[in-house]
């Protein structure tokens, strides 16, 4: 394995779009070549090297390439988007689209991420030590094919629209979430360890949601059917088991309708 280290030394006037910060784009390139990679600040084409110092070495293949960004990327979009393999570690915050359309590999952001983290993700792993903005693991606007695979783990809280149109994969939020969890989902698993304000599982066809804290406003389309013991995200607990969204269409399997499941941890 080889590590390329990027150190931000200049804050952009606007926000820079760096589709090229991926092991796929860096593999087999020298630091000097990497510094030449194109980025955008608005309509202005600039180079990665205009904002980051590039040191270390990349692997021959993306799988052998680790990227360390040693500093703040609050004004850097598209970190690790579309990456297929390798790793990216950010010692700081990152802006929008972290791991968007990601197919494999691992991204670890030690600060916070802004919205659209893991949008339309297909595989791989995203770990965020801080908080996430809105639309974690969502679909692109209009697409009915949202997150299909992989894992997103947010150690802090997240905003609204978690797992919208989700089809597969897992999203874990260690703290709280705001509104709209797994809206329109047809698969996948979302785990909220803290509280959610409401709109959990609206228009949901299939898939699973676990809430360890409180759901302040339950949707009328979810009905409690039983209590179950489940182990999820490393914790075992008794959950109140709801099915829904009863207002939404549901596919049938062997003559029986399949519903989405919402598990809310039963208070002791």
């Amino acid at each position: 394995m080889a590590t390329i280290t990027l150190k931000p030394f200049k804050t952009p006037e606007l926000i820079i779009e760096c589709n090229n910060i991926t092991p796929d784009a860096f593999a087999g390139k020298t630091p000097a070549e990497i510094a030449e990679l194109e980025i955008f600040e608005g309509k202005v084409r600039e180079k990665l090297g205009d904002f980051f110092s590039v040191t270390g070495s990349s692997g021959n293949t993306a799988a052998e390439t680790d990227i360390l960004i040693d500093g703040d990327c609050s004004r850097v979009k598209y970190l690790g988007s579309k990456m297929t393999v390798g790793t990216i570690t950010v010692n700081g915050n990152a802006d929008m689209y972290v791991g968007g359309w990601m197919k494999g590999g691992k991204i670890h952001v030690k600060g916070n991420v802004d919205s659209f983290c893991g949008i339309a993700m297909e595989g791989g792993e995203i770990e965020v030590d801080g908080n996430a903005g809105n639309y974690v693991g969502c679909a692109y606007r209009g697409d009915w094919r949202g997150m299909r695979g992989g894992t997103i783990h947010i150690h802090g809280s997240a905003g609204n629209d978690i797992g919208t149109f989700m089809l597969g994969g897992t999203i874990i939020i260690d703290k709280n979430a705001f509104i709209h969890v797994s809206t329109h989902a047809e698969g996948g698993t979302v785990v909220i360890k803290g509280d959610v304000e409401g709109r959990v599982g609206g228009q949901m066809v299939k898939g699973d949601i676990y809430v360890f804290g409180n759901v302040q406003y339950m949707l009328p389309g979810f009905k409690e059917i039983d209590r179950v013991q489940k182990e999820i995200a490393g914790e075992s607990a008794t959950f109140r088991h709801y099915i829904g969204d009863l207002g939404e269409r549901h596919p049938k399997s062997k003559g029986k309708e399949i519903y989405a499941n919402l598990y809310v941890k039963a208070s002791a």
């Binding site: 006037e13 606007l14 926000i15 955008f40 600040e41 608005g42 309509k43 202005v44 929008m96 919205s115 659209f116 809105n134 639309y135 692109y140 606007r141 209009g142 009915w144 609204n160 149109f165 509104i179 709209h180 809206t183 329109h184 409401g198 709109r199 609206g202 228009q203 406003y217 949707l219 009328p220 389309g221 009905k223 969204d245 009863l246 207002g247 939404e248």
Partner: protein, 457 residues
């Protein structure tokens, strides 16, 4: 002899009434009388003749005062600002015609700008919902001729669209609705008892911000499931009764407004309303429609969709491909994130209608207002460019709230020397080409024979 012009379009709300009659002075320069318009429309037709109306561009000077400049100087300033900025934002379009929107789109593509319209702070979430769930809708004539259950969800046409209820939705007698209001059941869903709610047979005074839950309840009931005794502050029995009314109707029409798009959940409130409409179509006929605010605010959604594939929030900065993702490429988000460095406000008053916090951000950079009138944006701008008033002094195509195109005629001549939005931005485009030494691209060919009052009578 003063001349009566009929079939005039009203440049105010999304009802885009085109039955206004204007009595115009001999010289064709002043509107003496207006008939059929609501109080707001009436005000527009009369305001154009106001002596206070600016007729010259004004540029802010070093001492903070505004000084009149020529249109050539205004064109030059705008062209240079757009070229210099890394990511200009061109926003507005609440009150211009499609010809103007098209002209600005060409400028924006040339400038690598973000092109956005005031749906961004209004019915933008409706677009997001349409992206995700579609839009089973109809033209307003279908409502007039067929609808027997009409739902007003988070909208108050008695105030925002004053003639909507009389022309289209509650009172008119249509082909299959010969008894007018007597034949229609009106349902209002609003946390206030608005003047529209007062006209309703059912008023759901829901807890503000809980529309989504109430929609979910309607859907759940329609699928034959039970719901809690109270949802969003509304009683189960009333929900079931209204759901039955909808199920048994011949034609259910759902109108929705800012009550859905301005509150928590935004697009999802509209999205689930669309799902409810889809559900109702398995039982009967049902349509849904956004109560668009301005007479041609559906226009940019149409023009830019055929030009770029997106109705709003269009980031053209890459020059090769357009990108859209509201939340990122939407005006207020761009402003709050300091992601744009030049602001051109066309035919909408961001100064009055944006949260003041967002205005403070865009005001850090060059700020240009193109608007016929003195408004908040013009009074904080670095350059204010007055233009002709569409629908009164300038003809053009506009799209009504149901996306029906209406050809608005011109009623009187505009003030001398004042260009239309289209003319101004075509000059900006030409100037940008001169400054960058590139060939102007004039497609498509321009038509010059727009209908005006003179050809009508």
């Amino acid at each position: 002899m003063p001349k009566l012009i009929t079939g005039v379009g009203c440049p105010y709300c999304g009802s885009s009434c085109d039955d206004i009659e204007c009595l115009v002075s001999d010289d064709g320069k002043k509107i003496l009388e207006t008939r059929n318009a609501c109080v707001i429309g009436n005000e527009i037709f009369h305001h154009v003749s106001s002596p206070d109306r600016p007729t010259k561009p004004r540029m802010r000077q070093a001492d903070g005062s505004m000084k009149e400049v020529s249109y050539d100087e205004a064109v030059d300033f705008t062209a240079k600002a757009l070229i210099k900025a890394k990511k200009p934002l061109i926003y507005g379009f609440g009150s211009t015609n499609c010809e103007g929107m098209s002209a600005v789109a060409r400028v924006a593509e040339r400038a690598g700008a973000v092109l956005d319209n005031c749906a961004s702070i209004c019915h933008g979430p409706s677009f997001l919902a349409i992206f995700d769930n579609g839009y089973p809708s109809c033209t307003l004539g279908e409502v007039k001729n067929r609808a027997d259950v009409v739902v007003f969800w988070g909208c108050n046409p008695m105030h925002a669209h004053p003639r909507h209820t009389s022309r289209y939705s509650i009172f008119p007698r249509g082909f299959f609705t010969t008894k007018g209001q007597m034949q229609r059941t009106i349902i209002s869903i609003d946390p206030r008892e608005t003047d529209t709610a007062k006209l309703a047979d059912y008023h759901f005074m829901l807890n503000q911000g809980h529309d989504y839950e109430l929609f979910d309840a309607f859907r759940t009931v329609l699928r034959g499931h039970d719901i809690p005794a109270e949802v969003a502050g509304c009683k189960r029995e009333m929900i079931i009764e209204a759901a039955e009314k909808m199920r048994n109707a011949r034609f259910v029409m759902i109108f929705f407004g800012m009550g859905c798009t301005h509150t928590d959940g935004r697009n999802h409130n509209v999205d689930i309303a669309i799902s409810l409409t889809r559900d109702l179509n398995t039982h009967t006929k049902s349509s849904i429609m956004a109560m668009r605010g301005h007479y041609n605010i559906a226009g940019p959604g149409q023009v830019w969709s055929w030009q770029f594939g997106f109705p709003y929030c269009i980031d053209l900065s890459k020059g090769t491909r357009a990108h859209m993702n509201p939340g990122e490429t939407s005006s207020v988000d761009l402003a709050m994130r300091d992601e744009v460095d030049c602001f051109v406000n066309v035919g909408t008053d961001a100064g009055a209608h944006w949260p003041i916090a967002a205005i403070k951000h865009v005001k850090k950079h060059p700020f240009i207002a193109v608007d016929p009138n003195i408004c908040m944006a013009s009074e904080i701008s670095d350059l204010h460019v007055p233009v002709r008033v569409v629908g009164v002094e300038e003809a053009g195509v506009v799209y009504r709230m149901d996306n029906v195109p209406i050809q608005f005629k011109k009623v009187i001549d505009g003030p001398e020397g004042v260009p239309s939005d289209e003319e101004f931005f075509d000059r900006v485009y030409t100037r940008m080409c001169e400054l960058t030494q590139t060939e102007p691209m004039w497609i498509p060919a321009k038509g010059h024979a727009k209908a005006s009052s003179t050809s009508e009578h």
